[in-house]
């Protein structure tokens, strides 16, 4: 036993530091299924409160969809609970294979391999396909899981300024001596809800003979006409070499992820990807439900259409109410407040009004970019959206920020 006083004190002071700087994260206990209306115990010990949820990635409202739940039950009944094995020994069922096929069809790729999460997929992929003679050219704001994956890979890293195509081109030129090049980006960036310029990226990739990897976790299921993702939104289906994405957001929201793309790359993942080789994959119950999710979204665009309409409605109304939002088309609607404390206070007051939203500030977003991130879902009805807009208006009035420009808010509350 060598958990020394020194160790204990060190960790305690780390935690204390987090609390002091406001980066300490607390869980809130939801006492209901994930949905538009949820019951939350917050602060801990308080009586549970009914609120409208605006901070889930439940974009399509499928997290507790009755058909999905039913499929999960059926999966549990017919394929059991656990596999007690990695995929290649005795941990693959027919339904795993079917789900991979369905994902391939939906994403418009050549093949797909499941991972226990998209975090695993991102951690695995780079080391599988790139080596020290190769180049990774990544957007500066890629998701943390990609940053980790990149760290595990020996290829040379080039970063380009966020969505800056001229800078990307410079980096591609710099990397021209490498054996293989891969451009790496999120499809949709989760804090701003902005979409990578995949049409331009495809042009540059063709010009400089680079592959493209897109993490489409915040787009799969609803971006593009049929919801295939940001590649469909930019009409470049078939031109993205690797898509990593998650089952943990729009696609039912349980867990699981995948790498989908060129046949050889996926095949190589089955041979070399460490999270695939050394960990169990998604359990049967999730696989069975995810199959249903893909069936539901493959036959109709109803849900993504409703999400699109909800997003448009909310963005219009909240702008009319006098809030300063980041423009765009994505259901992530960042309501800009700039000041961290203002964002926290307003989120707190909104919770009091029955609207569950989260304030984000540094280090999750850059300093002076604090905001409340609202996430719209197809599970929301117009009443939900109207209730939220009324509450936002009320709280916005309280803090006297309605109709105020960025500079005015900063003048009032500081950075």
């Amino acid at each position: 036993m060598a958990y020394s006083t020194k160790a204990k004190e060190f960790y305690t002071s780390e935690l204390k530091g987090m609390r002091a700087s406001g980066t300490f994260k607390e869980e809130r206990y939801i006492q209901s299924p994930q949905a538009a209306n949820i019951k939350v115990e917050y602060p801990l010990g308080a009586a549970p409160k009914e609120v409208i949820n605006f901070c889930a990635n439940n974009y399509l409202g499928l997290s507790s969809h009755p058909e999905v739940v039913e499929a999960a039950h059926k999966g549990l009944d017919t394929r059991g609970y656990g596999m007690s094995s990695v995929r290649f020994i005795c941990g693959t069922q027919d339904i795993h294979h079917e789900l991979e096929k369905k994902l391939t069809e939906f994403l418009g790729t050549e093949d797909t391999i499941l991972f226990a999460s998209c975090m695993d997929a991102n951690a695995a992929i780079f080391d599988v396909v790139l080596d020290k003679d190769d180049a990774m050219i990544a957007d500066r704001l890629v998701h943390a899981s990609i940053v980790d994956g990149i760290k595990l890979c020996k290829a040379q890293l080039y970063n380009y300024k966020h969505s800056n195509m001229a800078h990307l081109e410079e980096k591609l030129q710099e990397a021209s001596g490498c054996r293989l090049r891969m451009i790496i980006t999120d499809g949709v960036f989760s804090m701003d809800g902005d979409i990578a310029k995949l049409d331009k990226i495809v042009e540059l990739a063709e010009k400089y003979e680079a592959m493209i990897l897109v993490d489409d976790s915040h787009a799969t299921g609803f971006m593009g006409k049929h919801g295939r993702g940001s590649h469909e939104y930019y009409n470049v289906v078939g031109k993205i070499d690797v898509i990593t994405t998650t089952l943990g957001k729009a696609l039912g929201g349980a867990s699981g992820g995948c790498v989908s793309g060129r046949r050889e790359i996926v095949e190589l993942c089955r041979q070399r990807a460490r999270p695939y080789l050394f960990s169990n994959t998604v359990p049967p119950v999730i696989v069975a439900a995810a199959r249903k999710v893909l069936d539901v979204i493959s036959i109709t665009t109803d849900r993504r259409d409703k999400l699109e309409a909800n997003t448009k409605y909310f963005r219009e109304k909240i702008t009319q109410a006098g809030f300063d939002i980041k423009e765009g088309v994505h259901p992530i609607v960042p309501i800009m407040l700039y000041n961290a404390k203002l964002a926290q206070d307003m989120a707190h007051d909104l919770y009091g009004e029955g609207i569950y939203v989260i304030g984000f500030s540094f280090p999750v977003v850059p300093k002076g970019q604090a905001r409340i991130r609202v996430q719209i879902s197809a599970a929301h009805e117009q009443e939900h959206l109207d209730t939220a807009i009324t509450a936002f208006t009320k709280i916005g009035e309280k803090y006297k920020i309605l109709g105020k420009k960025k500079e005015e808010i900063i003048q009032m509350y500081g950075l």
Binding site: K225, H226, D295, I299, T300, D302, D305
Partner: protein, 566 residues
């Protein structure tokens, strides 16, 4: 001038997007057939145009405008949703040709379900096979047919919604639900299920040589082909009154008895009646039918009644005649020219193709007895039976084959991907029929490539008949084959060996005939039974159906040593 104009020009310059553009297909991401057959026509300002003129066998007439069928189909869709039927579940329509059949078909599609129409003369065994295979959730039927379903309920656990559309005050049993479209509030707006292009829409069962009947699954975008073939082959225009004699229990009755005419905004007439030459002619006269789509069997039945009968009626409204279901013999073409002053145009297609694929066009020279030429956008050929390579030499007989990719091609057989896959060879879809192509590109039908019996344009599987026969207490073994018939092309003939203790007799024969009729359908009923001591078999004990068939057709049996190893 016909819609198609010059066939050669059309064929050369064809692209399916021509049809899509005319339909505005995919506007606002709407692909649902239900919308294109009702709402869209109303949106074009044609809501008051008649969509359906319906006449019952008693002479009663009902008329429905496009706005009526839009609203009534909304009522069906709303109702199905309310009783808990979900998108993509199979909903069977099992009724005679009453207005509810046609309108509920659209309602089922509007709410995103898969419509599964079944011929109302089907017996219990035939119904059970098809409802069980499709795991059908709901069935729409009438008092007349509910009995058959009642007797099957215990064997169909998935069939939880049994809906009677004409219950009136007749009491229903258990959980059956009454729905009367004339006595529910109008549903002016229904949120049509936004089905994607390739989402399943219609499931039609068809028979094969072996095994149970297979469900050919079609998708919403099939409407592209059904729309344009209706326009160019049936040549329908706004002023036409169109009559398709087919029952929507079969694919002709849905592709060209619902989807084709209604997506074109045409007025169609339906006569819920069995065959009767005088009444048919009277119907044409009364409603001034202009375009008539019928079948060779019906035409030959009319021939039997003679031209004198034709002359008792004013049939001058008839403008264009088309036929489907089995090869139209030259005599029938010539007779129709004599009787009606215009020829019947033969068209060739099948359940799997979803729309007409080879046909004779208005304005194109007809060669009596020929099926005509491929529809624009359809690449058709005949293949060598061994190599599956196209046969170039005119006049050589081969397997009719089509290049996959036309919009109304079936997408699978329900629960039977293997057989679906087996229908494709060398990237050709094999229709299962044999034909030759002459030096001008006309196709000439020869026959089927298997033991399936084509009776009056309907395919009947020998296996299904033999299975039903074996359930008869007196039957030890049997073989069902097609025998030539002047009216129906083929009819079913059964060879039966009886169990010990049973003797052939007229009563037994009639008893067996009726037994099959009630179990399967009148089409499957053997019209002739030959009692034999035993049936010819291969060394492995398989009944040599082909030998018996060849005998019926007076064909050379050929080398029986190969048959023995069949």
């Amino acid at each position: 001038m016909s819609h198609i104009g010059s066939y050669d020009e059309r064929y050369k310059n064809f692209n399916w997007t021509i049809a899509e553009k005319e339909l505005d297909y995919g506007n606002n991401s709407i692909y649902n057939i239900g919308y294109y057959c009702s709402d869209r026509i109303c949106e074009k300002g044609l809501g008051n145009r008649r969509a359906l003129i319906w006449q019952g066998f008693t002479g009663e007439v009902r008329t429905f405008t496009y706005n009526d069928i839009r609203i009534y189909s909304n009522c069906f869709a709303t109702f199905l949703k309310e009783v808990g039927v979900r998108a993509q579940e199979r909903v069977c329509i099992f009724m005679d040709r009453i207005p509810e059949l046609y309108i509920s078909f659209l309602g089922i599609l509007k709410m995103g379900c898969i419509a599964q129409p079944l011929f109302s003369a089907f017996g219990e065994e035939a119904l059970l096979t098809r409802l069980d295979d499709a795991k059908t959730r709901a069935i729409l039927t009438t008092k007349k047919h509910i009995h058959k379903i009642r007797r099957l309920r215990a064997q169909l656990p998935e069939l939880t919604k049994v809906i009677v559309v004409d219950a009136g005050d007749k009491p229903l049993e258990n959980d059956e639900i009454a729905f009367d479209m004339d006595n529910v509030p109008n549903v002016d707006h229904f949120d049509i299920f936004k089905a994607n292009r390739d989402v399943p829409s219609v499931l039609h069962y068809t028979s094969g040589t072996t095994g149970k009947p297979k469900g050919a699954l079609h998708v919403h975008s099939s409407i592209i082909a059904q729309y344009i073939t209706t326009k160019w082959v049936l040549d329908l225009t706004a002023d036409d009154i169109y009559w398709c004699t087919a029952d929507p229990g079969w694919v002709t009755g849905t592709s060209y008895g619902i989807i084709g005419p209604w997506s074109n905004g045409i007025t169609q007439a339906v006569y819920d009646i069995g065959f009767n030459a005088q009444k048919w002619y009277a119907f044409i006269e009364k409603h001034k039918i202009t375009v008539w789509y019928s079948a060779p069997t019906a035409i030959r039945l009319l021939m039997k009644e003679g031209t004198e009968l034709v002359q008792k009626f004013d049939l001058s409204s008839l403008r264009h005649l088309i036929s489907v279901g089995e090869p139209l013999n030259a005599e029938a073409v010539l007779w129709s020219e004599q009787a009606f002053g215009k020829p019947f145009h033969d068209s060739y297609w099948q359940t799997e193709t979803g729309s007409i694929v080879i046909t004779n066009y208005p304005g194109m020279k007809i060669k009596p007895g020929s099926m005509g030429k491929p529809f624009p956008g359809i690449i058709a050929t005949v293949l060598d039976q061994q190599t599956f390579e196209p046969i170039r030499k005119p006049g050589s007989v081969g397997l009719i084959a089509l290049k996959p990719g036309w919009p109304s091609m079936f997408r699978t057989y329900w629960n039977n991907k293997e057989i679906y896959d087996s229908k494709f060879k060398n990237d050709w879809y094999i229709c299962g029929d044999r034909s030759s192509i002459d030096d001008e590109g006309y196709f000439w039908f020869v026959g089927r490539d298997d033991d399936v019996i084509n009776t009056a344009g309907h395919l009947v599987g020998p296996f299904e008949i033999e299975s039903a026969l074996l359930e008869h207490e007196a039957v030890a073994e049997s073989a069902a084959v097609g025998k030539p018939d002047p009216i129906n092309l083929e009819v079913v003939k059964a060879f039966i060996a009886l169990k010990p203790g049973y003797e052939p007799s007229d009563d037994l024969m009639i008893n067996i005939m009726n037994f099959v009729r009630k179990k399967l359908s009148p089409l499957a009923m053997p019209q002739e039974i030959e009692f034999v001591d035993s049936l010819p078999k291969t060394r492995s004990g398989k009944i040599m159906r082909r030998l018996l068939r060849a005998q019926e057709w007076g064909e050379d049996i050929g080398d029986t040593s190969t048959l023995e190893n069949d």
